[in-house]
Amino acid sequence: MKSTRLYILATVLLIPIDLSAQSGQFGPAHVEIGAQAIGVVTRESPAIHGRDLTEGYLTQPLVMAMASLWNDALQLKGTLDLEGVTIKRGELNAGILGEGYIDRRHPHTYLHELLITGQRIAGDNGASVTLGKGFAPFGTDDPMARPFEKYPINHHLAQILERAVAIGAVRTRRVILEAGLFNGDEPEGPGDVPNRARYWDSWSGRVTLIPFPQGELQGSYARVRSPENARGGGEDQHKQSASIRLEDAQHSGYGLLEWARTSDYVGSTRTFSFTSLLAETSARYGVVSGALRFERTERPDEPRLTNEFMTPLPANDLSITGRSRWTIVTARVAALVPVPMPFTVEPFAEIARARFTPTLTPSGFDPAQFYGADHIWSFSVGATLKVGMKHMRMGRYGVATTEMRGMKMAAMDMDGMR
């Protein structure tokens, strides 16, 4: 069964290797397709109860396609994510929590994005409307489109994704305004789709300032209804995000400073808040690149299933066993290997050290007692394989993509950024 799945995966990944189909003009349509996957081996010490674990994955296997018609007046975008096949058990990622997984990153849904955007652009100004399944206008770029293989653990504080979205955006040269409606429920598994009864019960808005072409300031706010109880009736979330993003004109240097907070609400009463501060940077020198990330994020501690990397989804009440603050420093080095176009192969190594402390005292949950240490080391080595369209920034649509048509193509060629 496993070999059949891998065969299907390999077949899908190879589809875009038809060079003529990677990027081209077909009448009024400009079409781009591509794919990527990362092979990685991760060792965590300790992973749980004082035990070390070493595991291998084929992670972030994506097939992407985008079509622009009539000089970008209409855009179609789709992203298939096959993690439901390749990392069904989740990927070791100390401290992460979400969608029923804890200390392992959950697989994303197969249909990661499928959107249609209509836009009108006049000079530096423009407006767009986007409908489909994808990211709500909130927070920063998806970690998949950033320098590291291992996710920051603030993923569910700093992005809202895989929702049925309706987004309106307007922009001028220096300002982008977005507002969106979406379903509040998070996916319950890779094959899950947004709950139709929950469409448009949540909203978010994002303001982006572009003081100069390589700089971007973002602030956003969201009200999310019952994200962890798909049928509704669970706790709501109020989410805030602010960030500064810098990237040089040659796309060889990048930096992000991000703050995010999610507060749980029962009715109008705030219960607990979870805050994150993250700073990351990357730089490329020829074929070699390096990156560094600092993250301090709070997360709730929750009961676990017999598989202790899983949590009940949904929980059966409103309580948590504690809240812990995770401080994680991650470093990465990578080097491009010379291979024929349109392939990109980039071996990499990442090392991370995570420390954790309970923040609600007295606390019933002692993370050091559970993990068997007061810190966790994580080592990962692997290689990123891409073919065709390179990964663009992920999480914005229409005129909200900070680089419009001509600039966007430059971003696609930005080396070192997935």
């Binding site: 500064i244 400073l257 907070r261 676990r304 989804l313 948590i320 066993t321 609600l360 019933g364």
Partner: protein
């Protein structure tokens, strides 16, 4: 530049995210319940409690150093509970409930979570060494059995199972016939609760379900003449403000009055640190139109399970980080002066001075899950510390 300043200010807020929840001291007229002894448990969270004679059974919950898959069995004949046996339940991450049948022959234990929801049915031929008769597990209850109320209706033993939502399925109630404990049979099921159904209460052929955001619903399962266990008929419902978790329908042993049901509200909390939720007093003298008439609020803490001394009219409530509270529930709870009446017309039992006693507040951090009055002693299961044995409240006060 201004944007950078805003951003910097936002970052500064990070340092101001402090939480501090401490229950205030009890009122001066509230007695301290004497602590007689403690049976310590530190590797797992202690959960539910059932005491029968000199034996107490406690379950374990959630994930601490170890998973909550243990049933601890205590000799409570002395002041200090003594652990005499531990039964590990395989394929269970947490144990939702424990109860012995009235005849003392069976011990029923609920298991969570998905996909290991079940009830374990043990023989208590040797009360300190339960022997598994069968594990009842079906697809319908696999998301997890949160509570299992074991009661007889018209002479037949049933388990009323509150099933967690999960796997895309909503919460539901399942009623199982335990006449043959080796082969339980399902007699009723229905989706129930929004989004959870927590505890249920069964007495005199009446079933009361705690349906979280929907409050409570009263069902006739044979006591009111029209319904049955296989065909419960809803008689009435009332909202109690959300998070309806548990119910005790009080039968005054002296007067025979059956007017009040006490509903526990399980609000948000963090184990060891905080809890929230009031006791809501519902007048159920007319099943068709129950109405809330009073409440008890403890600042800085929330209630969980109850045990009632129906002879003396004392409700004992587990109050998590607030320890244990004993409340006078005699007389007319819907009658109070204006100073103790809330804007929505309910009487404030705390303001009326009805707190008789408190327990465990001087024992360091506690997080009391459940209480049970047995043999004139009060037992309290404490998630952080294990099992406590306390003296009961004096009423009238000494």
């Amino acid at each position: 530049m201004r944007c950078f300043a805003v951003f910097g200010a936002s970052l500064a807020v990070l340092a101001c995210n402090a939480d501090n929840v401490t229950p205030p001291p009890p009122p001066t007229e509230s007695q301290a319940l004497p602590v007689l002894g403690q049976g310590a448990v530190s590797d797992r969270y202690t959960g539910e409690l059932w005491v029968r004679g000199n034996i107490a059974y406690t379950t374990t919950w959630g994930t601490r150093a170890n998973q909550g898959n243990a049933i601890n069995i205590w000799d409570v004949s002395g002041n200090v509970p003594t652990l005499v046996n531990t039964v590990i339940v395989p394929n269970a991450a947490t144990l939702g409930d424990v109860q012995a049948s009235d005849d003392g022959q069976l011990l029923i234990v609920a298991t969570e979570y998905i996909p290991n929801g079940s009830i374990m049915i043990y023989s208590l031929a040797d009360p300190t060494n339960p022997q598994l008769i069968t594990r009842y597990a079906t697809a319908l209850i696999s998301p997890g059995v949160h509570t299992a109320e074991v009661q007889s209706v018209n002479g037949k033993l049933y388990a009323f199972l509150s099933i967690d939502p999960g796997g895309g399925n909503p919460a539901r109630l399942v009623i199982v016939d335990l006449s043959n404990p080796a082969a339980p049979t399902q007699v009723f099921t229905a989706e129930m609760g929004s989004p959870f159904v927590h505890d249920v209460y069964v007495r005199d052929g009446i079933l009361i379900t705690a349906l979280w955001n929907l409050g409570i619903t009263i069902w006739d399962i044979g006591g009111a003449g029209a319904g049955s266990v296989a065909n419960p008929i809803a008689l009435g419902s009332v909202s109690t403000g959300g998070q309806a978790h548990n119910v005790w329908w009080y039968h005054n042993a002296l007067t025979g009055e059956k007017r009040y049901a006490f509903v526990g509200q399980e609000g948000q909390g963090s184990v060891g640190f905080s809890s929230s939720g009031d006791i809501h007093v519902v007048d159920v003298s007319n099943f068709a139109s129950p109405r809330e008439v009073a409440f008890y609020h403890l600042e800085g803490a929330g209630t969980h399970n109850f045990s009632v001394d129906e002879v003396r009219g004392i409700l004992y409530a587990a109050y998590y980080n607030g320890g244990v509270r004993a409340i006078d529930i005699t007389g007319d709870l819907s009658s109070c002066d204006a100073a103790n009446r809330s804007v929505d017309g309910r009487c404030d039992l705390a303001g009326m001075g009805r707190e008789l006693a408190h327990g465990l507040q001087d024992q360091g951090p506690v997080y009391v899950w459940g209480v049970q009055l047995s043999g004139g002693r009060l037992y309290a299961s404490d998630m952080l510390n294990g099992l406590w044995k306390l003296g009961a409240a004096s009423f009238p006060p000494d």
